[in-house]
C-alpha cells in the first residue's frame, strides 16, 4: 500500500512541478479551472430573462442519467474498463502488492481521467438551469452530485458488475439481454406512439410522471438521482441529503464487495493498458497508433485491394483513404454514421414534413462543426512518418490528404438531404444548395482543422486537455464568424430572400478554406509542425 500511496503522491506533486519546466502544460488545467469559475460567476451576475421549464430539465437530465447507467451496466458485463498503462503493468502488477490495492489505485486513476473528460458536460449545467434562479451553492452542489454519479458511482457500478460477472457466468448475458429488451420495447413503444398515438399528449404525461410521481423516487439509482435533481432546483433539504447518502452508502458497499472478491483481473486489463499506452505515445512521440481492437467502428468489413493504377506521389493518399473507407463501410462510403444520417432524413421526411430544410441544414452543419475537429483521414497520417517522406509538394499532400473526406461529406450530404427533400416535397434548388454548402463547409473544416492543429502545436498546446480546449475555442470562433457573415449577408442581399443563408455559407466557407489552406500547408514541412 505504501508503494501505491508514494506513487499517487509523487505523481500529484510532479504534475504541478513540471509546470515550472514547461509552463505551456499548465494552460490546459488553468483554462479548465478558469472557465469553470467564469461560468459560475457569470451565472451569478446574469439575471434570468427567459422561462425555466422545470419538467423539461428533469426529463432531459434523467434520460442522460439513465443512458449513463445503462452504459455502465452493459459495459461492466463486457470488459474491465481501466486506465492502467504499461508502466503500471510492468512495475506494479509484478510487484508484491495485493491486486485489490492496485485495483483501488486503478479506480483513482480512472476517476481522475473521467472528471476531465466530463468537463464539457459539466459546464453545460449552469447554462441549462440559468433561468431557474436558484442559489449558486445549489448549482455547485448539483455539479458535484453529477460528477459523483457519473465518475464515481457509475465506474464502481461497472467494476461491480464486472466482478460479479467473473463469479456468476450467466449474469452478464442476462443483464445484456435485459438492457436490449428494455431498449427494444421502449423503441417499439415510441414508434407506436409516433405513428398511432398523440405525441404531444404522451410527452406531456411522461414529463409529469417522471418529474412528480413519488414512487419513481423509490427506484434505486434512477429514482435517487431524480430526487437529487428535483431538490437541487426546488431547495436542498433532508430528502436531498438522504439520497446523496444512499449513493455514498451503495458506493461503499460495492467497493467493499469488489475489494473482497479477490479478483484475478490482470489479464483482463492487459490489452487495454497496451492500447492506452499506444494512444498516449501518439501525442507524446507522434507515433501512429495501430489498434488491434476490432469493433464495429474499426473493423474491416471486406477485402478490397488497393488500386493505385497511375497514382503516384501524394495522390496515393487519396486512393489509400478511399480504399480504407470502402473496406470499413458495408456499402461503398456508407458507414454507420451515414446510415444514421439516412434514417434521420427518412424519419424527418415522413413525420416532420413541415420542418424547413434550413433547420435541418443548420443543425447538421453545427453537428459537422463540432464533430469534425480532428476526425478527418488526414489526422491518421500526421502521426506517421510516411506522409512527410513522400516526395511531393506540401500543397498536393494537403489536397490529396483531405480529398477523401470531401467525397465522404458529399456522400453523407446526399443521404441526409435528398430523402428528406423528396419525402417532404422541398425545392430542388434548395436541396442542391444544402448539398453544396455542406460539402464546402466540410472542406473548410478539413483545412481549418489542419490549421488549428498546427497553431495549437506551435503555441505549445500539445497535451490532450489543452488541445481539446483549443479546439472547442476554435470551433466557437468558426461559429461566431459564420454568425457575423450570415447577418452581414442578410443585411446586404435582402433580395436573395430565403437563399441568403446559403450565400453566406458559400462565401464564408470559400474564404476561410483558402485562408486555412494557406495557413495549414506548412504542417507537412516537418513533424514538428
Amino acid at each position: 500500500m505504501q508503494g501505491i500511496v508514494y506513487l499517487l503522491k509523487t505523481t500529484f506533486i510532479n504534475y504541478f512541478k513540471r509546470f515550472k519546466k514547461q509552463p505551456q502544460k499548465a494552460i490546459g488545467p488553468f483554462f479548465v479551472v478558469f472557465w469553470f469559475f467564469i461560468i459560475i460567476l457569470s451565472y451569478k451576475s446574469k439575471k434570468s430573462t427567459g422561462i425555466f421549464r422545470f419538467e423539461y430539465f428533469m426529463v432531459i437530465s434523467l434520460i442522460y442519467i439513465l443512458a449513463i447507467m445503462l452504459y455502465a451496466l452493459y459495459n461492466g458485463t463486457k470488459k474491465l474498463s481501466s486506465n492502467f498503462e504499461m508502466n503500471d503493468v510492468n512495475l506494479l502488477f509484478v510487484s508484491p502488492i495485493k491486486p485489490q490495492t492496485i485495483l483501488l489505485y486503478g479506480i483513482v486513476k480512472k476517476l481522475w481521467a473521467e472528471i476531465f473528460a466530463m468537463f464539457y458536460i459539466i459546464v453545460q449545467i449552469p447554462n441549462f438551469i440559468r433561468n431557474a434562479s436558484i442559489p449558486i451553492l445549489n448549482v455547485v452542489i448539483l455539479i458535484v452530485s453529477v460528477i459523483f454519479y457519473q465518475a464515481v458511482f457509475c465506474n464502481l457500478l461497472k467494476l461491480f458488475i464486472f466482478s460479479l460477472n467473473t463469479k456468476f457466468k450467466k449474469l452478464g448475458e442476462r443483464i445484456r439481454f435485459s438492457i436490449k429488451l428494455f431498449i427494444g420495447l421502449a423503441a417499439v413503444f415510441l414508434i407506436y406512439v409516433f405513428v398511432k398515438g398523440n405525441v404531444l399528449l404522451f410527452i406531456n404525461s411522461l414529463v409529469k410522471v417522471i418529474t412528480y410521481n413519488k414512487f419513481i423516487g423509490y427506484i434505486p439509482v434512477f429514482g435517487w438521482m431524480r430526487e437529487i435533481l428535483y431538490y437541487s432546483i426546488k431547495g436542498i433539504n433532508f430528502y436531498f441529503w438522504m439520497n446523496i447518502f444512499l449513493f455514498v452508502l451503495t458506493s461503499i458497499i460495492m467497493l467493499y464487495i469488489i475489494y473482497n472478491l479477490n479478483l484475478d483481473y490482470y489479464e483482463d486489463v492487459l490489452t487495454g493498458a497496451e492500447q492506452l499506452t499506444n494512444i498516449k505515445n501518439i501525442s507524446k512521440n507522434k507515433e501512429q497508433y495501430v489498434s488491434n481492437n476490432k469493433n464495429i467502428f474499426t473493423k474491416s468489413f471486406k477485402k478490397k485491394e488497393l488500386n493505385l493504377k497511375n497514382a503516384y506521389g501524394a495522390k496515393v493518399l487519396f486512393y489509400k483513404h478511399i480504399n480504407e473507407y470502402v473496406k470499413r463501410s458495408p456499402i461503398f462510403f456508407i458507414n454507420i454514421y451515414s446510415i444514421i444520417l439516412f434514417l434521420a432524413s427518412v424519419i424527418l421526411g415522413i413525420f416532420a414534413k413541415g420542418v424547413d430544410v434550413k433547420i435541418i441544414f443548420l443543425a447538421s452543419s453545427v453537428l459537422l462543426i463540432f464533430s469534425a475537429g480532428m476526425a478527418g483521414k488526414i489526422f491518421t497520417e500526421i502521426y506517421s512518418h510516411f506522409i512527410f517522406m513522400i516526395p511531393d509538394t506540401p500543397q498536393r499532400k494537403l489536397i490529396y490528404g483531405t480529398a477523401s473526406s470531401l467525397v465522404k461529406s458529399f456522400s453523407d450530404s446526399i443521404l441526409l438531404f435528398v430523402p428528406f427533400g423528396i419525402l417532404s416535397g422541398k425545392s430542388f434548388i434548395e436541396i442542391f444548395l444544402c448539398i453544396v454548402c455542406y460539402v464546402l463547409l466540410a472542406a473548410m473544416l478539413s483545412y481549418s482543422g489542419v490549421f488549428a492543429f498546427r497553431v495549437s502545436r506551435f503555441i505549445g498546446f500539445d497535451g490532450d486537455i489543452s488541445q481539446a480546449i483549443f479546439f472547442i475555442f476554435f470551433q466557437f470562433f468558426i461559429l461566431a464568424g459564420l454568425y457575423i457573415v450570415i447577418n452581414l449577408v442578410t443585411l446586404g442581399f435582402k433580395y436573395f430572400n430565403g437563399y441568403t443563408i446559403y450565400l453566406s455559407y458559400i462565401l464564408y466557407s470559400f474564404v476561410f478554406s483558402i485562408l486555412s489552406f494557406i495557413g495549414g500547408i506548412g504542417i507537412f514541412k516537418d513533424t514538428e509542425f
Binding site: 476490432k294 493505385l308 480504407e324 510516411f386 514541412k525 514538428e528
Partner: protein
Amino acid sequence: MLEVVNLTKHYNKVQAIKDISFTVNSGELAVLAGPNGAGKSTIIKSIAGLLRYEGNIMICNKNNKSIEGKRLLGYIPEIPSMFPLLTVSEHINLSAHAYSIKDYEKKKEELLKTFDLWDKKDKFGSELSKGMMQKVSICCALITNPSVLLVDEPMVGLDPKAIKNLKEILIEIRNKGTTILVSTHLLDSVQELWDRILIIKKGQLILTKSKEEFEIKDKSLEDIFFEFTEE
C-alpha cells in the same frame, strides 16, 4: 552521397545537436553510435526531414527536404508503424507509388520472400506482430531503390534469419553504390558491415573515421566506441 553540414538542433532551450558536419560517401556504410540520449535519433530524423534544424543536409547534392532529395532517401524507423487497413502487399505498393516507382512487382515478390512475408502478404497491418511490422518497414524502404538509406536500430525485433537476410541486403545495395547510415547500439551486429564510424556524445560528433583510417585494422567497433566515449 550524404552530406551533413553544421547541423544544429534545439528542443526549446536545450541544444540537442551541436554544429556537427560529416559526409558518408556513395557505396559506404556508416555506423552512427553513441550513448543513450547522445542525439543519434535526432540526427537520423533530421536527415529524414522529419525535424526542423539549422544547417544543411544534402542527399546526392539535393536538399533533403526538396522533392528530389526525398525521392532519393529511404528510411527504416526504429518503431515500425503500419496502416491498420492496408495489407502487407498494399503497404509496399503504396510506398512504390508514393515514390513514383514503376515495375516493382518482381522486386516486391523477392523482398517478401526474403523476409518470409510472402504467405502473409494479404494480412492487414493491424494483424502483424512487431517483428513482422519491422520486416514490412524494411521492404517499404527498399522498394523505393534509395540512393541514401537511413536505418534506425535495424536489428531490434527481427528473428535471426531476418537479421542475416537484412545484412546480406545491406551489403548488396552498398556494393551497388547506395549510401547507408545505420544508427545502433548493437555494435556487434554491424561489425562485419561497417566502412565508417560516427560517434556522437552529448550532441557533438567526437569521431568520424573510415575503417582504412584506423591503424589497427581489425579493431572492433566496441573497442573503438569505448576508447572514445569512456571518460
